[in-house]
Amino acid sequence: MTSAAAFIRLAGVTKAYGEGQAAFLALNGVDLSIAAGEFVAIMGPSGSGKSTVMNILGCLDTPTAGSYEFEGVHVEELTRKQRALLRRHYLGFVFQGFNLLARTTALENVELPLIYRGESASRRHANARSALAQVGLAGWESHTPGELSGGQQQRVAIARAIVTNPAVLLADEPTGNLDTATSREIMDLLTGLNRDRGITVLMVTHESEMAAYARRIVRFIDGRVASDGAGEHPQ
């Protein structure tokens, strides 16, 4: 994937932790291009750098060296504030641990990104309700995370990620805390969002079964891309 129309392009991205002798390269010269509308699973053993590349792709972390282009914008040159604005307008996050605000209703959790975008109260409520309905949680708006099952919490998190209509949905082990049946539901949901709404989905997982939902699987080993190929037929 080296088309000029690439939507996301990592070139020679390196991420080092620590300094001098103790320095550890979490990423070591990663090149990766992703086109709009793709569903990419990033796999690899622990410590392979798959989460690090995810954080860099999500503009949560910055590379030590190399370049990251997002729709032609060099993210590594952006300020902290510009990266926050990029997250606000283009990215949606789903985490392994759900990361919902405790003691806050599902509706308010989903509204949160809209508040930061300065949407009016009426649009906020309408959009949040429709996002919850899309993840199959209509009628659960006033429940707090403590009153929801793990799968439901992850659905709320997905609703929060898609309520802003992001270009890219980044999911870091979205099924890591869920049982197999629930995991499949969540994967169906992500697949549907990718197929029906054209949202680019980048997902980190270590489960082959979940990775099989993706159309493309990138494997990381020791901070490098070890293989990059079509999904459904993992090597």
């Binding site: 972390d61 926050a84 604005l85 919902l100 605000l101 405790a102 806050t104 930061y116 802003t164």
Partner: protein, 398 residues
């Protein structure tokens, strides 16, 4: 942006009601303590100055001794009073006073009180009025008859609701006829009950109670229009002469007018007020440390929250503003509740202590601002530290 942030701050407060309550509690207690104590102190000061003013602005007190230790200093005599009366024209009334504590008995009831020996001039000089009966006359004064005028407290202790005039009571071992009842005056500036008193002719007290011809103080009231300073100067030189003080010797007595007495006494209560205020300020400080602790502890939980907010696109500035608004709202709320609590409690306590309720704007504003500052500082800085973390570090924070 500010409205959205306000919304976020209010939501954050609402979903952490217990933590918010604990944060507020420290401020409420601190603010309420400071305001209550200072307000009551001011009320007490006001009471003291009011009572001294009620003694009359033209009253001069002469007491033996200089400063606080008066032992070994010669007392006054009845003749001093007579000399003042004849030599100083501007002195309207001169009341020599000698007092001793004694137990009064009527039927089965008894009560220990202060017996004041003086002349008829004591009553106008001390701003006393009669509720019923009469005061002693000149013959009774001169002969030292066993007659007495009693105060309201003593009446209620010995006679209940009965009219005491005409009854015989026993004071120490003097059988004594009650000839008058004084109108109630309430607490004195010294905190004692002024109505807990018996007034007898000076001669009676000297002969039968104290057994000495000493007079412990002189109360002189100046004629209206006369210069208080002039009267005081004349009193000073007359008494120096009568006490045979050499040119280079200091006065061995003090001449004070009501304003000076007021200053001396209100000075004491003002110092006490400041002392109490300082103690209360410590509690405000402790309250502030409570806020600090709760804020610091909650930052552990909130670091994650900050991470979430940053990840979904909040700017560092917005997160900080939210925390700042939260801290301001909580501290102000605490301050306002504290002021309300202080107002209620100082009104109630002022009523119980029989001092006036004196609203002090300055201390209200000051303690409010202090508590607000505490909340804001201790709410803001931990949040700033968290907001400056990389979102990924904040998210990983456990």
């Amino acid at each position: 942006m500010i409205w959205n942030t306000l919304l976020l701050a209010l939501r954050a407060i609402r979903r952490n009601l217990l933590r918010s309550f604990l944060t507020i509690l420290g401020i409420v207690i601190g603010v309420a303590a400071v305001i209550t104590l200072v307000t009551l102190g001011n009320g007490a000061t006001k009471t003291v100055s009011d009572q001294i003013a009620s003694m009359g602005s033209n009253l001069i007190m002469v007491i033996p001794g200089q400063g606080h230790g008066s032992s070994g200093v010669s007392r006054f005599r009845m003749s001093d009073a007579q000399a003042i009366r004849s030599e100083i024209g501007a002195a309207k009334s001169v009341a020599p006073v000698s007092a001793k504590s004694a137990t009064a008995v009527y039927l089965a009831a008894n009560w220990t009180t202060t017996v004041t020996g003086s002349t008829g001039e004591y009553f106008p000089a001390g701003n006393w009025e009669l509720a019923s009966g009469r005061i002693f006359n000149e013959i009774e004064e001169r002969t030292g008859r066993a007659v007495c005028v009693i105060g309201e407290t003593l009446r209620s202790k010995l006679f209940g609701r009965q009219n005491p005039v005409g009854s015989q009571i026993r004071v120490a071992d003097i059988a004594c006829e009650v000839i008058g009842l004084l109108k109630a005056k309430g607490q004195s500036a010294f905190g004692s009950d002024q109505d807990d008193t018996i007034v007898m002719p000076l001669a009676t007290v000297q002969r039968r109670l104290t057994g000495s011809r000493d007079v412990s103080r002189l109360m002189v009231s100046a004629r209206s229009g006369a210069s208080l300073e002039a009267v005081k100067t004349q009193l000073g030189s007359l008494l120096r002469e009568r006490r045979n003080l050499a040119e280079n010797e200091d006065d061995d007595f003090r001449v004070m007018d009501t304003r000076q007495i007021a200053d001396a006494l209100t000075g004491t209560t003002k110092v006490l007020t400041m002392l109490l205020g300082a103690v209360a300020a410590v509690s405000l400080l402790v309250g502030g440390i409570g806020i600090m602790n709760i804020m610091l502890v909650s930052v552990t939980e909130r670091t994650r929250e900050i991470g979430i907010r940053l990840a979904i696109g909040a700017l560092e500035r917005e997160v900080l503003l939210q925390f700042l608004i939260e801290a301001v709202v909580l501290s102000s709320l605490g301050g306002l509740v504290g002021i309300a609590l202080a107002t209620a409690s100082s009104m109630i306590i002022a009523d119980v202590m029989a001092v006036p309720y004196m609203f002090d704007l300055q201390i209200n504003v000051l303690s409010f601002l202090f508590s607000a500052a505490m909340g804001v500082i201790f709410g803001y800085f931990p949040a700033r530290r968290a907001a400056r973390l990389d979102p990924i570090d904040a998210l990983r924070h456990e």
